[in-house]
Amino acid sequence: MGKKKWSEVRPSEDYRRILRPDGTLQGKAPKVSRKELLRWYQVFVETRTFEEIAVRLQRRGVLSVAAVSRGEEAVGLGAAAAMKAGDWCFPSYRQNSTLLYWNAPIDRAMAGLMGNSPEHIREHLPMTADQLPAVTFMPYAVFLGANIPLAVGSAMADKLAGRDSISLAFIGEGSTSEGDFHDGLSFAGVFDSPLVVIIQNNQWCISMPASKQTAAETFAQKAVAHGIPHERIDGNDVFTVYDTVKKAADRARKGQGATVIEAVTYRMLDHNTADSSAVYRTEDEAEYWQTLDPFDRFEKYLLAEKIIDHSTRGTLAAEAEIWLREAIDRGRAVPPTEPPAMFESHLHGEPGWSERHQRAELAAELAGQNPFVDYTGEGLQ
């Protein structure tokens, strides 16, 4: 009410930044090998390639909906690089770069996006244990914010068991308004949990601008409510993301508790393929943020450092296109999940009468028989 339009309240750039939008350093670059930097670049390329394919597939009706992360890739990527094997990750749904960095199986992901059941996918796209990503990824939080208490519990378990792994959760800035965010952080603060929460502030929560989401000046400061250290960083600078998450993770591993990091970034495209953001936001924003693009500045830096040359991008994109297409095709080739799969994985042990009965009803129906002919409770078992 009476609040300014988003474009009048551009987020302050008073945050931690190492790599300037023009690709030059304003601080010290983190110690990362040239090989690792090239890997980061590759994941950038892969993420953009993957998301472009996903959008095309959605347009052709293969996927019912696709969410992309264009403009926000540095957040998931920098965080990914700061994780270690054995860590647990609780993504929102804008971390394709995190998944790609850790070689999460794209074929399986695609089969999932197409609405196959997880058991069915595992059956049709088997992997040995050592093929699985070394970081464990939980399903993303369809129910916004619900991943935070889970991540906290996971972190509490690590601490109780004396493991030095961490739990890392991503949450959109809009989702920090959900009670779950605070419910989880209350616990994380009190139990000094080895947790890193990254608030991926992409300025928009579908149609709601960040400025209407909270009266707090920053999302990072929400951590103050729980006595948890917080930091606000340039989320379009992969160096800062990496460096900040790495330090938070190290603290966590050493038993020094949780950290909340607000990564300031921008959702360059629509919320998802069902959205049309032109209805609620103006083009001047996009122009401003284009100058802050995370990929461009990283590319400029790598070019200057001669880690890549002008042909690298094309080469990597072509490679990515090939393997991603292959993976996606494998995912698409998974035969449709059979209806009885819906009964799977609800409870352990012998199914009870109702489950047996309903399974039998479904089987009868699929066999073209009338499923409702049992009037004694003994007919369908």
Partner: protein, 333 residues
């Protein structure tokens, strides 16, 4: 049961435009009507139900809020308590679970807790139901949770005409009303809807089609699925649109079953402890002498709403309804 009324001047609307028009009329009629929720302002709702309202009524009557369903219901109740008439958009019924605290303690209970001193005239518009293959928790039909909660009314329109009249009535009602909008019906079809405003009773079921051999009870999209099934069979089925999900309009259901001697309940919700359980128990208790066959429930299965690929088999379709009708019609004691 309520009868059809003379519709006067009409226009062809689908369900979501009927809702949009009603909100518009109610906002204009009463300045204390406040449409509120997230994504209901400039974007006009993710299903465009509030399209254009923000531009026309401004941010004092069309209030975009932070993303907390629990805060949303609580604040709406607090406003209602002080004389406002909030119309909340709850994007999906499945998101109401994390507002269950304020739903029970404030929305449903406050009027009773204050001995009637405080009214809670809040309408909660929420989408429910399957068929559009979205994400998990976007297709919930958990109205059974609502039915077991005192202090609220729950209604579900199955056509654009019904939607307009019921929504206007819900907004003007001094009780909290949960207004269940089936996503698949939003743009499924159009029908003539009176241009003038009107209300329909919130506590009455609706006779869709009279019949003598079997009483079929359904609501939301299942009314249409059932109608299709009935059309494809040769039985004289009476179709009743439950419409008032809570409190239930019991008499017409009993009267119908006493007449037909048979009953089939069709719903999208899971079966166990679902809405059909209450309907079946009620009818068995008070009309058993008239029953020529046990009551059957044609429902979804007792599992979480499944992945898209099996959604169609999860939900009752015309074939499942036909099987239910056949089974009950052919039963012999």
């Amino acid at each position: 049961m309520s009868a059809a009324i003379d519709k006067g001047q009409t226009e062809e609307l689908n369900l979501v435009t009927a809702i949009n028009q009603t909100l518009r009329q109610e906002l204009a009629r009463d300045p204390q009507v406040r449409v509120m929720g997230y994504d209901i302002g400039p974007i006009g709702g993710v299903f465009r139900a509030t399209d254009g309202l923000y531009d026309d009524f401004g941010d004092q009557q069309v209030i975009d809020t932070p993303l907390t369903e629990n805060g949303l219901i609580g604040a709406a109740v607090g406003m209602a308590m002080r004389g406002e008439r909030p119309v909340v958009e709850m994007q999906f019924l499945g998101f109401m679970y994390n507002a269950w605290g304020q739903f029970i303690y404030s929305l449903a209970n406050l009027h009773q807790k204050t001995g009637g001193l405080v009214n809670v005239p809040v309408t909660i518009r929420t989408t429910f139901g399957g068929g559009i293959k979205p994400l998990p928790f976007h297709s919930e039909s958990t109205e059974a949770y609502l039915m077991h909660t005192p202090g609220i009314r729950v209604v579900c329109p199955s056509t654009p005409y019904e939607a307009k009249g019921l929504l206007a009535a819900a907004i003007r009602c001094d009780d909290p009303v949960i207004f269940m909008e089936h996503t698949k019906l939003y743009r499924a079809f159009r029908e003539p809807v009176p241009t003038a405003d009107y209300t329909l009773p919130l506590d009455k079921c609706r006779l869709v089609k009279p019949g003598k051999e079997l009483t079929l009870i359904a609501w939301g999209n299942m009314v249409h699925v059932s109608q299709q099934a009935v059309d494809e069979l040769d039985y004289d089925v009476e179709i009743i649109d439950l419409r008032a999900i809570a409190p239930i309009d019991v008499e017409p259901l009993l009267d119908s079953v006493k007449k037909t001697g048979r009953c089939l309940i069709v719903h999208e919700a899971r079966r166990t402890a679902g809405p059909g359980a209450e309907l079946s128990a009620l009818i068995s208790e008070y009309a058993m002498e008239w029953l020529k066959a046990p009551i059957k429930r044609v429902t979804a299965f007792d599992v979480f709403f499944p992945d898209n690929q099996v959604e169609d088999v999860y939900l009752p379709g015309p074939d499942r309804v036909k099987a239910g009708i056949e089974a009950v019609m052919n039963y012999q004691f």
